[in-house]
Structures are given as C-alpha cells and as structure tokens.
C-alpha cells in the first residue's frame, strides 16, 4: 500500500514536471556489488538503487524538492546478527529466539525527502522530510542526533527526517537555527533543537541545545524504555599551526538513565604532493571499554542506531592521494583503542566517464573474536558505480 502511494505521488510529480517544464529532474542509478568472506564461505549481495530527484524553484524565493528511492536486492539477502557475534553472546540466546535477530534486505521504494523551503536574504524556513547534517566530524558526528554514520562509508548521504527548520542569519558569519522534529504529533516528546553558529577569524564554532525522546531497547526481551533526553553540545572547526582542526561534543542529560557524553576531535593536513591525511579520536561514554563486557544489547543498539559505537574509544584515520586526475587511491582505518581491534578500509575512486564514478571499498577486520572489529565479522568490500543523470 505504501509503495503504491509513493508510486502515485511520483507519477503525479513527474506528470506535473512534464507539464510545467519548470521542475528539474535528476538523480542517479547506483548498482553495488558486496562481497564478504565469512565463516569459511563467500557470500554476495547486490543492490540496484535508483534515486529520482525533483526540484522546482518556479515560485520566487521558494524551493520544492523531493526524491524517491527504489532499491532492489539480489543474492544473500537474509542474515542473522547472531551469526556474527561471539559464542559467549550467542549462547545467551535461546534457539527459539534466533528469528528475532534476523535482518533481511528487502526491495524497497520510498519517499526519502519531500520538502518546501522558503528563503529570503537572511531567513529561511524548510518544512517537510529533509536531510539534516550537523557537526564537523568526518567519521562520526556526536552532535548529530538524527543520523549515524557508517565508518566504512562515512560520506554517504543520510536519510531525510520530518522536521520544521528555521535559519536566521543576521550577519554573514552568524547563524541561528531552530528545528522541530515531530514525533507522532506529541509536542512534549518531539525533538527540538536550537543552534547558534559564529565565525571568528579562521574558526567556525557553534553551540546547540536539544531536547528529544530517547528509546533504549532491551534486545533480550524487546522491551523499550522511553525517556526524555536533553543535550548540550557544540562544535568548532578551524586551523592551528597549519593543520586543520575540529572538535565536537555533547553532554546527555537523561530523565532516568545515567548521564553521558560523547566527543570527537580531529585534524587534517594536505601535503605539497597532494597527499591528504586525517586523524580523528572519538569517545562515547555510553559504550564499553572492555570487549569481554560486550553483550547483545551493545551490538544491537549499535546496529539499530541507538548508540553510535560498540567500543568507547576509537581512532579513525584516512589518507588519500590523487594518483591521476581521474583516480584517487587511499585507505582509512578504524582502531578501537578500548579493545585493541581495528578495521582497515582501502578505497579507490575512479571517474570512469563524465557522469559515472566507480568506488571500490574493502574492509579487513583484524581484531580478536568478540572485539568491535573482530576478524570473525567477515572480510570483504563493495564495488559501486554511481551513474548520474
């Protein structure tokens, strides 16, 4: 039923487009091949993603935007999270409970973003399902309570979120942003965020306050605890001694649970040769530091996005080098300082044609079993072609 509604909306929008001739239609087709060598066997999963964007600016100071995403999956689409976890965790789950931890990649069709934006010189309001990007970090953004980045593919686009957003810019380097993200029309539990951003010299810094509903799931019983979460945080980006530096962090005040904090600091530098290097340190007090203490909840909360990391302290690194004008090679790594595990992620990007880009990403886990980046998670990678139109 939902898919049918999306199709109808898409058809109407496309029909309107053809009629009005004032709507841009663009997007991309993205086939992706994933391979993983896991538990002595090789598995493959392919996806074919089509994103169609519509944008209209035919009314003065107003932009209407929407995009529809279709994804078809092939190959090994059914997985069970328990298969990837250590025996000590698996053994705590009764056999009859195993189906509760299955995940399936199902063909999908949905409206990812649908919004209207009205903007004057110093003021803008955006209403609808929209992308929200907060924070200065590359691999993770503690201040971004809406999204969780994948450390293996941190720059990939994030989904849209229902929100009413207002931006006010009284001077060129001073911005205020207020955001209201409704939760089932419940004003009290809906997300509210305010942010002030200021430019000082070569630095941009922002402070934010947020109130939202937070859900903690017990994945043994599937009971959920919902409570009020208040956040104070901020971020800064600039440079020091010739190196780019940034930091962001939040402090969580929970209604019932123990308060906590999360922060990230980073630095980068481009060498004269064009070699780009980056290093980040990320700490999450909600995660654990000893791999032997990880339980099912830690993993499932990470996979479901309730918390951003499995281990409490991580170092991210990235190097990239433009081998030719069309080819960039590099590698990133994620090192769990807490449990001494790591993932190495080689990356190759090639501009095949004007509008076709190939991305090859590998993942090699080198941690001991039970750690955040355990080699028992399986090694592999993906090859993605992005074809823009």
């Amino acid at each position: 039923m939902r898919n049918r509604i999306v199709l109808i909306i898409t058809a109407v929008l496309l029909g309107t487009t053809a009629h009005a001739q004032k709507v841009d239609i663009f997007g991309y087709f993205e086939p992706q091949y994933n391979g993983i060598y896991f538990d002595g066997e090789y598995f493959q999963l392919q996806s074919n993603k089509l994103r169609i964007d519509l944008k209209s600016t035919s009314i003065a100071n107003t932009e209407f935007g929407a995009d529809v995403i279709f994804v078809l999956y092939h190959g090994k689409t059914d997985w069970n999270v328990l298969d990837f976890l250590s025996e000590s965790i698996r053994s705590t789950i009764p056999e009859e409970m195993r189906p509760f931890y299955e995940i399936a990649f199902s063909d999908t069709l949905y409206l990812d973003n649908v919004y209207a934006r009205f903007a004057l010189n110093h003021f803008a309001v955006t209403a609808g399902k929209q992308q929200i990007s907060l924070g200065t970090g590359y691999f993770a953004n503690p201040t971004d309570i809406f999204n969780a980045k994948d450390a293996l593919d941190p720059t990939y686009e994030q989904p849209g979120h229902n929100a009413l957003r207002a931006d006010f810019q009284p001077s060129p380097r001073l911005n205020f942003m207020a955001l209201y993200s409704p939760v089932e029309f419940d004003l009290e539990n809906s997300g509210k965020l305010i942010r002030a951003k200021l430019g000082l010299g070569h630095f941009d810094l922002s402070l934010l306050g947020c109130e939202t509903q937070y859900t903690t799931t017990d994945f043994y019983t599937f009971e959920q605890l919902q409570e009020r979460r208040r956040i104070l945080g901020g971020d800064i980006v600039g440079e020091l001694l010739g190196m780019g530096i940034w930091a962001e962090g939040i402090y969580n005040f929970f209604e019932n649970s123990e308060n906590g904090y999360e922060f990230l600091v980073g630095t980068d530098y481009t060498f004269e040769s064009g070699l780009y290097s980056m290093l980040e340190y990320h700490h999450n007090s909600a995660a654990k530091s000893d791999a032997e203490e990880y339980d099912l909840n830690d993993w499932m909360r990470f996979l479901s996005g309730e918390t951003k990391t499995v281990s409490s302290a991580q170092v991210y690194g990235l190097i990239q080098y433009p081998l030719t004008d069309m080819l960039i090679v590099g590698s990133s790594f994620v090192l769990s300082v807490s449990d001494k595990s790591a993932a190495i992620i080689p990356i190759v990007q090639y501009s095949l044609f004007q509008n076709i880009e190939l991305t090859l990403v590998g993942n090699i886990y080198v941690g001991e079993q039970g750690t955040a980046y355990s080699n028992s998670l399986g090694n592999g990678g993906f090859l993605r072609a992005s074809i823009y139109f």
């Binding site: 686009e157 951003k197 030719t324 069309m326 004007q354 823009y388």
Partner: protein
C-alpha cells in the same frame, strides 16, 4: 605557518580567468616602469570590483581523457570574496565553493548530503575536481606582491605581442607554493599572456604554465576568454573558458555566506 600570509603566484591564474582585467582607461605602459610598478598595476587592475560569469573547465589527462565542468562564478571586493557553483555535469551539479579573505577561508557545500564543510588553508593545495588548478589557484588575491621579489628582465615578444618580462622569486619567509615564476605581461593591455611556475623545492623545475588567449574588451575591461594551465610534470592540462561574464553587477553580501551557498 601563518595562513593569512600564505599566497601563491597561481592566484594570478584565477584573477586572469575570473577577472584578469585591465580597465580600458588604464594608463599606458611606460618603458621606465619598474617590476614593482608593473605588478602593482596588474594587481590593481586584475581584480575588478565585482564580476559574475559562467565558465567551463576542461581537464585533459595524459591519456587524452577529457572531463568538462561548467560553473557559475561570483566575485566581489576585488576578488576578496568569491563563490563558485557547479552547473554541469550532473555528478557535481550544485556543489559550491565559497572563498573569503583571498581564499584563506574556504567552505564547500555538497547538495547530495546537504553538508557544508570548512576547509583549512592547507586544502588549497588540493586539486579542484581533479583539475590542474588547486583551490589556491582558484582564489583571487593580490597577496603575491608581498610574497615575491620582482625583477624586470629584458622585454620580449610573446604570442606575437610585445611584453614586459618579470621574474618573481619567493621571499625567504614566504609560504608560497612556487619557488619562482616568470610572467610575460602584454604591454598594451596589461594582461599576463604567459606565466611559468617553478616547483616549490626546485627553482629550475618548471611545474606549470598558464597561457591566456582571446583577449576581449568586456565592460571596458580586457578579459582573456581562455586560459590554459599546463602541468609540465603530469603532462596534463586544464583549459578554462569564459562563456559569459559581466563586471557591471551589484552582488549582495549575503551571497557570500553559508546560506548563500545553499541558494
């Protein structure tokens, strides 16, 4: 490294492209002009107060592959503020680069992720979309005068035009990316026709060459409609062509802001 002083002779290239200009009313060249006077005149005239244009940038690799980008540029305050928005190809459409303070502050906007990212000044060394122009090359500035010592050499003809020949040598405390540069400046139009850039660590190693052609008078300003940067080390080149440009615009300051990038 202090970034407010960091500059690069290659800024000349963008100035030439975006606004490499000489008001038609500029004083005529004088044989007795010193190198500093020629550079000062260039600096004064290369950066018009404001400009708005559409340009194409074609990258040609050593194997002959080509990538062409089309973008819209806005420049204000004699190039101190500039904004560049990609129009084509679709892969990069909407990506925007904002440069303030003579490209000492750079922000990029990616429409696919709706993310604005501030780059540190070292990022100016990075190639723009794989081209032979770096961010630094794309940022207009007049700071190169302060970073280089200039010597006027014997006048030469270049591209069939009488030119001043100026040799620039990086000052000892400068952080400029090129150790040395050689300029040939058209005596009549005061537009640099050729600029040779020498490697940061080897003043004898020619790294890049900028060549400007098709100089037209637009809004009383001499404007090279085509400039090509040849990378002598990689055997690649990038050609930038002005599709249209005007200097008679009144651009709002709001355009050169984070919100302006997203319009």
């Amino acid at each position: 490294m202090t970034h407010h002083t960091k500059c690069n002779l290659s800024v000349l290239s963008f100035s030439i492209l975006l606004a490499a200009t000489l008001p038609f009313t500029q004083p005529n060249a004088q044989e007795g002009m010193t190198a500093d006077e020629i550079l000062e005149t260039l600096t004064e005239t290369m950066n018009p107060e404001q400009s708005h244009g559409i340009m194409t940038m074609t990258i040609v690799t050593s194997s002959g592959q080509e990538r062409t980008f089309k973008y819209e540029t806005f420049s204000k305050a004699k190039g101190e503020k500039s904004l560049m928005k990609y129009l084509e190809p679709q892969r990069v459409k909407g990506q925007t680069i904002l440069m303030l303070n003579d490209a000492n502050d750079i922000w990029t906007y990616f429409p696919r992720t709706k993310r604005v990212r501030k780059l540190a000044t070292h990022a100016k060394k990075q190639k723009v979309e794989g081209s032979d122009f770096s961010y630094e090359d794309m940022g207009a500035s007049n700071a190169f005068i302060e970073e280089y010592d200039a010597v006027r050499l014997k006048d030469e003809n270049k591209e069939g035009r009488p030119c001043y020949k100026i040799e620039l040598t990086r000052k000892p405390k400068s952080n400029a990316s090129y150790s040395r540069a050689m300029l040939w400046v058209d005596k009549e139009k005061f537009v640099p026709l050729v600029v040779d850039y020498y490697h940061e660590d080897d003043p004898q190693l020619k790294e890049k060459q900028l060549a400007c052609k098709d100089i037209q008078l637009i809004d009383s300003i001499y404007t090279p409609m085509q400039c090509t940067m040849y990378n002598k080390l990689d055997n690649t080149y990038t050609s930038m062509n002005i599709v249209e440009i005007t200097y008679q615009v009144d651009l709002p300051d709001d355009l050169f802001t984070e919100m302006g990038m997203q319009k």
